[in-house]
Symmetry: C2
């Protein structure tokens, strides 16, 4: 076998084992007996140990030095294998083990501190996590910027400076739009009780309409909706709230965006490094585009209004236009995950600034709560009164995910770019959406983005799909147009 | 770390990974999307590769040479680690890979041949499987008996000669009892339709009554009932037939026997070689004792009759005695898995003889169907008219399980021994069973058998629990007494 073929066979096995780890994660969140947790922790640790040993295998460096890619896809495979190997060997085993141990403990401390509204209880372990991630960033950056180094895990090939340029242009315009919208009268919200089995049935119908293949997937219930797996086994979860069917329906459409991305990657890349989504940002671009630009569009909500009235009877909403306004209702609130399309990115922008300050050392863990509350007050005009509404609301930092938050807004920016290009290519898209059929849009995404998997770097992929370098301009234009219309600005 | 501690840490990780493989097996039979099968095969192969590499790791031999067991449990751990390592290194990698490939193909060929009633289509691949298992047996036996060598995977420390001695005494007496019973009028069977949700609810109630801990387990639906996992995560499956609630109820009690065995092993052995059941035979002794000696007893069925009438209303059965007869109805049939307690072992005895002849070379794969039909006719008095009722009914041989069948009857023999000893120790057992409470019996088994896991060799474990070497005598006495009473012999 050539060095390239040897390398690919090794990568394929590694990828298969990574899929097994993902399957265990799914199991844990959906079906695992509660009492199994301590044993599962050992099972996962053993499997992570196997994966780490494979990724640091010294033979990889030898094979990489000799391997010649037969084509562009092969070159992409080598790029991704090299990146993963180099990342793995740069981090000392001692540090990797300590990070695993401390973040595991920190997640528990965070959950308890949040439940008890005890901010101070979380600060010491947060300081430990930050210190360890700074140490890891230094090992990875080798003289470069720590935050940029951490960002590569989630958004390879992208720098904080590139993100900052876009976020900086986005922030003030979003804040302005938000103020204008919140001065206008709030539209009516949905009212009533909505049968949960009927919500599940409609969610399943929507999932299939958006292209989710249930032969290679399944839908279960979990506390937090997620998508797991790639290739031939990509599962999603959802949840229901009898008072709020949009929670179930739109979280399902969102997860279907993630899941169909993985399902639609070219079968030739199955169980290889290229056979995964290109980045967290590109992943989020698919889920958000499915959920917002398609699912919350005037055309699709017009169809959904009729479908939901067939199923649930009267919704307490006068007509299609009022339903569209209810789906896209902008409301005050503290919680990122409950936020609407307009304000969501403001939540992310402040987290991006705060976490960079933590990683650079400009902000101490002990000062985070005050900094959070100041910034939230400045951006939103009111401040959280308890930590669970403030800096303790998200799990991310407790488990060491620094560099992850900006990918949510990157996803929205990429979705804005892709949506603008899609609309140019599909002038009659609203006609299909108005019939409850998003397939021209999902087909366009499959061809321009999804089938390529990790073939290109994220920004190159978006540029190739749209013909332009990614920027904040299309998203801003879309949001200003949509919410300007909805709120009569 | 001492060599012993190093070895145990290694074994613990191996065991954790083996549990992961078991979890994937559960997933495949219960929740896996159908289209995921090809990817799952690669995931399993990668994980099996990891396990094989760990079990053949040359460092094991070094550690084993140096390790000193601190106590009896440690000595048992060393015995099991050594056995697994020696088995793994005796089989050449080429042969192991070929066996995996051929048996995977053979299982598909078997399923198609059975569906098409095409015996000839199965013969060539069966011949291949037999040849490879003979080769493996020779590698393992190193001059000894091939079949004995294969048997060690399922019933360590037991020889075919020991089994033959017991089976030889069992067969004629069973055949005689069977003939006498079938000359008597058949008792009434259950009639009616039984709500499947109510069957599931009652199965769950019975599972808990027999000691199954749902905090560390769960019950799902699968085509074939099974139990999977050990320690803190032991799951079972069941199935329902609207015309036959006994199918669901007794298969659940059976699987609970397997599952509680794994759940009740001393927590100190969690994720170690000793922390698993002692053998397939001992496992089957628990499941069969729960199902038959307890679940189908006069006392317990008396309680179950009342409980089922509360749930399902009239059962078409006159009274408790008639219900007891219906539960234990002896009926003509071809299929092992549908057989009753009396005839079941006759199905196994013929398979034991036939598979030994295949492995010894005395019987060619091409002559198996004729040999099967002859033997079945001799033992049962009628012969199968289609292969799916005959030698194609079981999956075992297609996947290379030679040496597995006798463990079913060994389990019944061990159950007979344990039941006799239990009755001596628990003179009031029928009183509890009559109240629907098998806990004195399951508690007795937990203390005498289950908590020890793999601490002792199977025959030693049964001898320690009962005070006597295992034999066929208690089972025969029990069956002759039970069916003599039921059929007025």
């Amino acid at each position: 076998m050539s060095a390239f073929d040897t390398l690919m066979a090794h990568a394929r096995e590694t990828q298969a084992l990574a899929q097994v780890a993902g399957r265990l994660g799914w199991d844990q969140e959906t079906v695992m007996p509660r009492g199994a947790a301590p044993q599962r922790a050992e099972e996962m640790a053993a499997l992570e140990g196997v994966l780490h040993a494979r990724r640091t295998d010294p033979r990889l460096a030898e094979w990489l030095a000799e391997a010649e890619a037969p084509d562009a896809a092969g070159a992409a495979q080598l790029r991704l294998i090299r990146r993963q190997h180099e990342r793995a060997v740069k981090v000392p085993a001692r540090l990797a083990a300590e990070l695993a141990r401390v973040t595991s403990r920190a997640q528990g401390v965070w959950a308890e501190a949040r439940a008890a509204q005890d901010a101070g209880a979380f600060v010491p372990v947060l300081a430990e996590v930050v210190a360890l991630r700074r140490e890891e960033g230094a090992a990875l950056a080798q003289g470069g910027d720590l935050y940029d180094a951490l960002l590569q895990d989630y958004e390879p090939g992208t720098t904080a400076a590139e993100i900052e340029a876009m976020f900086g242009a986005l922030g003030p315009r979003l804040a302005e739009l938000r103020s204008a919208v919140l001065e206008r009268p709030a539209p009516a919200a949905l009212s009533g009780r909505f049968d949960e089995a009927a919500q599940h049935a409609l969610a399943r119908e929507l999932a299939q309409a958006f292209g989710y293949d249930l032969m290679r997937g399944r839908i279960d219930t979990a506390v937090h909706p997620f998508s797991a797996g790639s290739g031939l086994d990509v599962r999603i979860t959802t949840r229901t709230d009898p008072a709020d069917p949009f929670n179930c329906l739109y979280s399902t459409i969102h997860e279907v965006g993630h899941a169909t991305y993985e399902q639609n990657i070219d079968a030739a890349y199955l169980l290889t490094p290229v056979g995964q989504g290109a980045s967290m940002g590109v992943h989020e671009s698919q889920s958000r585009l499915y959920e917002n630009q398609l699912g919350r569009s005037r055309a699709f909500t017009g169809w959904l209004y009729g479908r939901m009235r067939e199923i649930f009877g009267d919704l307490g909403i006068a007509d299609e236009e009022a339903f569209y306004a209810a789906v896209n209702r902008v409301h005050r609130g503290f919680i990122r995950t409950e936020s609407d399309e307009l304000q969501y990115n403001l939540h992310i922008l402040m987290r991006f600034d705060l976490e960079r300050a933590l990683i650079s050392g400009d902000l101490a863990a002990g000062d985070l709560e005050a900094a959070w509350n100041d910034r939230f007050g400045a951006d939103f005009g009111y401040a959280p009164e308890r930590p669970s509404d403030g800096f303790l609301q998200d799990v991310h930092w407790s488990v060491g995910l620094f560099g992850y938050f900006p990918t949510y807004t990157l996803g929205n920016l990429y979705a804005g770019c892709l949506h603008a290009a899609m609309r140019r290519d599909l002038p009659d898209l609203d006609e299909s959406l108005g019939n409850g059929d998003p397939s021209p849009a999902t087909g366009w995404l499959r061809e321009t983005v999804q089938r390529h998997g990790g073939l290109m770097e994220p920004r190159d992929l978006i540029a190739a799909a749209t013909g332009e370098a990614p920027s904040e301009i299309p998203l801003l234009a879309y949001l200003e147009d949509k919410f300007g219309h909805l709120y009569g600005l």
